[in-house]
């Protein structure tokens, strides 16, 4: 309470600019955009309903009070902890409310009617998310805290989805229909992204070390990899399809291994090629920033070449190399989506199917987990790089 009161009395006229912007956006959205859309089936445009129409009066009132409270904190309180708490509380309330709206608006036993979160829900969600993100950024959490917070968040989201409270929302309906395929495509997505990363690391690390040791090679190798990076994913997939198809046609043994012009093979090869640049470049520049004196001292004290490389050079370059791995992983997770176009599978399958059927829920079923996957990888690897850098 004192934390709340102190800034209010100390600086009564000071209005937080970010809070003002977010409050304005949230208020406009709640006034003009629907909270939920009720659709007769998954494709037709739905009937827009505001907060008042979608929820029982008591719940709607409660939600509004919660949102106004969060807005008040966002406008007047500077302390990041308080802001974070207010944003998270309001987010929980918002989520529970939309879940409840889904259950209430779906006629019992009806599997065709879809209740989709509307524009107001999304805008308010983003506003509260921004408020929380801003507070979290200002708190400057340590790497371990960030990882724990991410784990907690993912745990809560999974538990909430498993609880059944949200089962009547359109995205989860879409999930229920595709559950088996979802698990399969998710696995495939992760496999493609990590598999190509692993292959790129196995090749890129020695190549990076080579570029560091033989500076003459550096411009040529990095220049070539740079040109490869410039080629758009879909174009590279396409270009690779022809030779891989020919290879598979020529060598039935390869075909039995799963190599073919269509499917995972061109995707893996393309992702592998894209992944090389960040790994090679970061390995080389990570090694270049290792203190020459430390390497000289290590050799002078009688470490073998291998001991110097492993114990000193690579260890000191590791944060930079991990940063490269982060870039690759985030990039790969995004690009695997495109692989669906050439039959490579992955979550992109849902995205492109959704585009084809103009079913936004199906698009979101593919897009949201992709973003979550990329985001989680980024947080984890950033934390790892920062921890290694501190030691």
């Amino acid at each position: 309470m004192s934390a709340l009161a102190a800034p209010l009395t100390a600086a009564p006229r000071r209005i937080e600019p970010l809070g003002a912007l977010l409050t304005l956006a949230g208020a406009l959205a709640l006034t003009w955009l629907p909270f939920v859309l009720v659709k007769a089936n998954r494709i037709v445009p739905g009937t827009p309903l505001g907060v008042g129409a979608a929820l029982p009066p008591a719940v709607a009132g409660g939600l509004i009070v919660l949102l106004v409270g969060a807005a008040a904190v966002g406008l007047c309180v500077g302390a990041p902890r308080v802001r974070l708490l207010a944003a998270l509380t309001a987010l929980a309330g918002l989520a529970l409310a939309v879940g409840l709206a889904g259950s209430l608006l779906t006629p019992g036993g009806n599997r065709v009617v879809r209740v989709a979160p509307g524009g107001a829900f999304w805008v308010v969600l983003v506003c509260l998310g921004l408020l929380a993100t801003d507070a979290l950024t200002r708190l400057r959490p340590r790497p371990l805290v960030r990882v724990l917070a991410l784990g907690l968040l993912l745990g809560i989201v999974v538990a909430a989805l498993a609880s059944g409270w949200f089962d009547h929302l359109s995205i989860l309906r879409e999930y229920a229909v595709n559950a088996a395929r979802f698990a399969q495509e998710l696995r495939r997505h992760v496999l493609l992204a990590f598999g190509s990363l692993l292959a790129a690391a196995l090749v890129g690390l020695p190549l990076g070390i080579l570029c560091h040791r033989v500076p003459r090679l550096r411009p040529g190798v990095l220049g070539t990899l740079n040109v490869i990076q410039t080629i758009p994913a879909i174009a590279l997939f396409g270009i690779l399809m022809a030779p891989l198809g020919a290879l598979a046609g020529g060598f039935p043994a390869l075909q039995r291994l799963g190599v073919s012009g269509i499917g995972a093979a061109p995707a893996v090869v393309a992702l592998f090629l894209y992944s090389l640049l960040p790994i090679v470049a970061n390995t080389a520049s990570g090694l270049a920033r290792v203190s020459r004196a430390a390497v000289d001292a290590a050799r002078g004290m009688g470490m073998t070449h291998w001991q110097v490389l492993r114990g000193i050079e690579l260890r000191l370059a590791l944060p930079v190399i991990i940063t490269g791995v982060r870039v690759v992983l985030v990039q790969n997770i995004g690009m695997v989506t495109v692989a669906a176009l050439i039959g490579g599978g992955g979550l992109g399958t849902f995205v492109f199917q959704g585009i084809g059927q103009t079913a936004i829920d199906l698009v979101l079923l593919g897009a949201i987990p992709t973003v979550a996957l990329a985001f989680s990888s980024a947080v984890l690897l950033d934390a790892l790089a920062e921890t290694l850098e501190r030691r």
């Binding site: 937080e16 600019p17 970010l18 921004l130 993100t133 801003d134 979290l136 950024t137 200002r138 040109v227 410039t230 080629i231 758009p232 994913a233 879909i234 174009a235 590279l236 997939f237 396409g238 270009i239 399809m241 022809a242 198809g245 012009g261 985030v330 997770i333 995004g334 690009m335 989506t337 495109v338 176009l341 050439i342 992109g348 995205v351 492109f352 959704g354 585009i355 084809g356 103009t358 936004i360 698009v363 979101l364 593919g366 897009a367 992709t370 973003v371 990329a374 985001f375 990888s377 980024a378």
Partner: protein, 246 residues
């Protein structure tokens, strides 16, 4: 050493231009890739028109991104916009974990099919590298220079336009280059939502199982991306000869 790549770029440009102007001349090259007498050269639209449309979409989106991103970066580095600085940095970090496809896919249901969702997605995704680079450029100015500018009595506005922005220019241009190259790729995917562009050729190839289409769509896009990249690099070098970034 220096002329080799230049020659290579000239040849690439020549190849690209002659192919999109007179694709039929290359038909014998692509014929072996087709089966059952399918056409070796894309015949459902004019390659030149598609290429120009593709380039137009990419450049329009990049121009809009540049305007907004630079303005935003200037805003958050002024005293009045400081409150937004920490958040904007985090947002750029988070934003870059969004795959371009996801941005495109989410835009379609909101605004419908055609050019518009592609433009919006390209614009939104293109903001990130430009904003980030401008921010870095404006925040890592040598303190001696900004102090000297203040010491000479430049107004805030004069300082911004005659000191800060020119010094940040190499990084801003690099951001635009990255943004352009990403856009060329993302715009291909735009064809899945009926935007006019070279993705059409690739998708047509995928649908009709015509490797020749896929290859020519892929090659034209790849050449365009590489040439744009190299071209921007040349522009950067010309414009920023006097400004050292390090």
């Amino acid at each position: 050493m220096k002329h080799g790549p230049l020659l290579l770029r000239g040849l690439a440009l020549l190849l690209l231009v002659s192919f999109v102007i007179a694709p039929q001349r290359f038909a014998p090259l692509f014929a072996p890739l087709t089966q059952y007498g399918a056409p070796p050269i894309y015949d459902q639209g004019n390659l030149l028109t598609l290429t120009l449309a593709h380039l137009g979409t990419v450049c329009l989106a990049a121009a809009a991104s540049t305007l907004i991103a630079v303005a935003l970066a200037i805003l958050v580095t002024r005293q009045s916009g400081r409150a937004f600085l920490p958040l904007s940095r985090t947002l750029v970090n988070i934003g870059q974990t969004f795959p371009p496809v996801a941005v495109l896919a989410i835009t379609v249901p909101l605004v419908g099919f055609g050019e518009i969702p592609t433009l919006i997605a390209l614009f939104a995704y293109g903001l990130l590298p430009i904003f980030e680079n401008t921010l870095v450029g404006l925040q890592t100015l040598p303190p001696a220079v900004t102090e000297a500018a203040d010491g000479m009595g430049l107004s805030a506005r004069e300082r911004l336009f005659s000191v800060e922005l020119p010094l940040a220019m190499p990084l801003i241009l690099e951001g635009i280059r990255l943004s352009l190259v990403i856009n060329v790729g993302t715009a291909t995917i735009g064809s899945t939502v009926a935007a006019k562009g070279l993705g059409e050729v690739i998708i047509a190839g995928l649908l009709s199982n015509n490797t020749a289409f896929i290859l020519q769509g892929g090659l034209v896009t790849a050449l365009m991306a590489v040439l744009l990249y190299e071209g921007m690099l040349a522009v950067e070098r010309r414009l920023c000869r006097s400004v050292r970034t390090d």
